[in-house]
Symmetry: C3
Subunit: 271 residues, 3 copies
């Protein structure tokens, strides 16, 4: 079956590909649209976007309502996904790889319903994959759901203000303390409403867009099993999908290992 | 308990083994019999077999009915396992490490029933470990089972012809596209019947042959949990077993990382 | 949000930290108390303790009743946890990181109830995290529980004598055979009673001490899922916790890779 096998050749081959008459592919230039998650804004992607651009890709990083420069907490999941779809349309983007991190996973599910013909692949990077009729908050164990409810009630403007111990252990557990504090200083209140909205995703589950899941193996924001978790619990809702794994927790390596994450993201995204 | 501990010694030791009066073992020469899976033939093992031979091991790679040079699609699981057992007998092999990849896992279960006295260890390398009375197809989620049924019906000679998107995402997700196409060009129709046969494995589950599971962590052909999967779902059926993990999807690293897989296979196989 | 982002800077940065005005933290000196598990004694930690000391930390390794120099098999879980708590008190230790490996996990649960004010973090290193009212033996599948019962009955003095095949495959699967034999030669009978005791842990589950789980990914002593296992099954009982992963089985790397485990333990233990 292999050319070298037919010759009975078993010597160490510096380049196995070459021996098969197979040239290792040059990187395929892709157009990425990167959608951040909660308690973050477009700058969350700066490190990874920079690495992807260095690799020769084109990268777009939309900001959405209630985040970045927009202090409005009274936003809906529909406003957010609509704004990302409009961004794609207004920039006349086609054949895009649409990437969602964390809450951004639920966003790209809805964006895929709005502009399916412009998307060549969906990539969930520890991103929520909601079942039809579910909310982001539904993906957490009951005690955590209750914590989110309490955070919401404690807020004057329906925002979720992250407590540092939660952030330090569950979002950036691999960071040292000074970096954890630095990253914590950068986050801002998150509009609560979109995380509690139950989404109609019937159209999403009829789409045939290729999809990948990039799973960060130290991400413990959700339990890693027992009926919860990024992978395989939520990822399995995607049906047939490509799986790529990387070391990393929910947020730290976006800052400290952007080249690693960009490489893994490319492997999840290429055709 | 350790000699160096009794001396209160805590210095960095270049060779920890030496300090314990323990000489790092030379590799133990083993006799491997490597059993490939579906949509493959004996050449599937060329890379790994070559590396094992370079390490000093003896390697046999039997071909079985309905695969390789044999175009017959009307084969049974029993014909396949019988042919592998006969191969072992005819080559007068003893003290073998019997390795099964994928469908080959179900084959070595039956071969172990036929020639248990010749086998020193069973190694499942992302290989199916069927419960008594189950088929290979039973290990897949209902939707995938239905897809297999449809592939079967679409065939004139009861063969399963792999669709490229399934192969690309679920079998070789870590490959780049040119390599995925190359590997796809090498596969051939698979006889459907053996994958649908429900096997009597009562005798297998009474055997006391040592066993290992070598799990490739990016292998997403089966869901990685939620009641499915190579490990821990099927591996747990082995009772007491040795676990070794490696990076890798279902097929790619057999071509691109044969030295890595051979090393891991050795670690799973030694006494 | 990042200083370099505001400048529109995307170039490769040799030191990402420096560009953020963030100095990579020097290692924080910690005071560790390391609690070993069953079939082991304080010398189990020699390698890791030596590496931690070299890194600048202070390390204490208490021995507990029925282990090390104490041949008494008639010990209780309460005697063990009390002795570790007394060790901490007698050495006037405060702000400690209390680490439990294996059975030692259940010990640090009880020690945390006894001297909570002296502990800054609990770290379970493939350590048992028992639910209230459970025993260590309860965490194993029924067939293994039965094996433990039989080992117990076969003993004249209520000790568990480890069979070599169990040790070789489930405790030190990554070792080669000479090292497995060496490690096996060092273990001694384990008092059975503490592993079968059902513990009242109501007080433990009211504590708010920060906690981490360090998971060794080849540790197959417990099934790695399907309702069992170190992580995520038992770890999830900790509620909010920091997760760190490392390669390793249950015992081998404590001998062969102490620097790796010490580094991972530090990452699990720092504030």
């Amino acid at each position: 079956m292999y050319p070298y096998a037919r010759n009975g050749f078993y010597g160490r081959v510096p380049n196995w590909y070459g021996y098969m008459g197979y040239e290792r592919a040059k990187e395929q230039p892709l157009t990425f649209v990167l959608v951040h998650g909660s308690w973050a804004d477009a700058s969350f992607w700066n490190g990874v976007a920079g690495e992807l651009r260095r690799m020769g890709h084109t990268v777009f990083v939309p900001e959405y309502p209630g985040h970045g420069g927009d202090p409005n907490m009274n936003v809906t999941h529909g406003m957010i996904s609509r704004s990302v779809a409009d961004y794609i349309i207004n920039h006349q983007l086609r054949d895009i790889v649409l990437v969602g991190h964390s809450f951004g996973g639920s966003v790209i599910q809805k964006v895929a319903e709005l502009v399916p013909e412009r998307i060549k692949r969906l990539v969930f990077m520890d991103g929520f994959v909601l079942g039809d009729g579910q909310s982001v908050v539904d993906q957490f164990p009951p005690q955590v759901q209750q914590s989110f409810e309490e955070l919401r009630k404690a807020s004057a403007d329906d925002a979720l203000i992250m407590p540092f111990p939660l952030f330090r252990e569950a979002f950036v557990g691999l960071a040292d303390l000074p970096l954890a504090r630095q990253l914590y200083s950068e986050i801002r209140p998150e509009p609560a409403k979109p995380a509690f909205e139950k989404l109609d995703l019937k159209a999403f589950y009829k789409l045939n867009i290729p999809r990948s899941y990039l799973y960060l193996t130290e991400d413990n924001l959700l339990p890693q099993g027992e009926g919860y978790g990024w992978h395989p619990h939520m990822s399995s809702r995607l049906g047939l999908f490509r799986l790529v794994r990387s070391a990393g927790d929910h947020m730290t390596y976006f800052r400290t290992q952007p080249a690693l994450l960009a490489q893994k993201l490319y492997e999840a995204s290429r055709d």
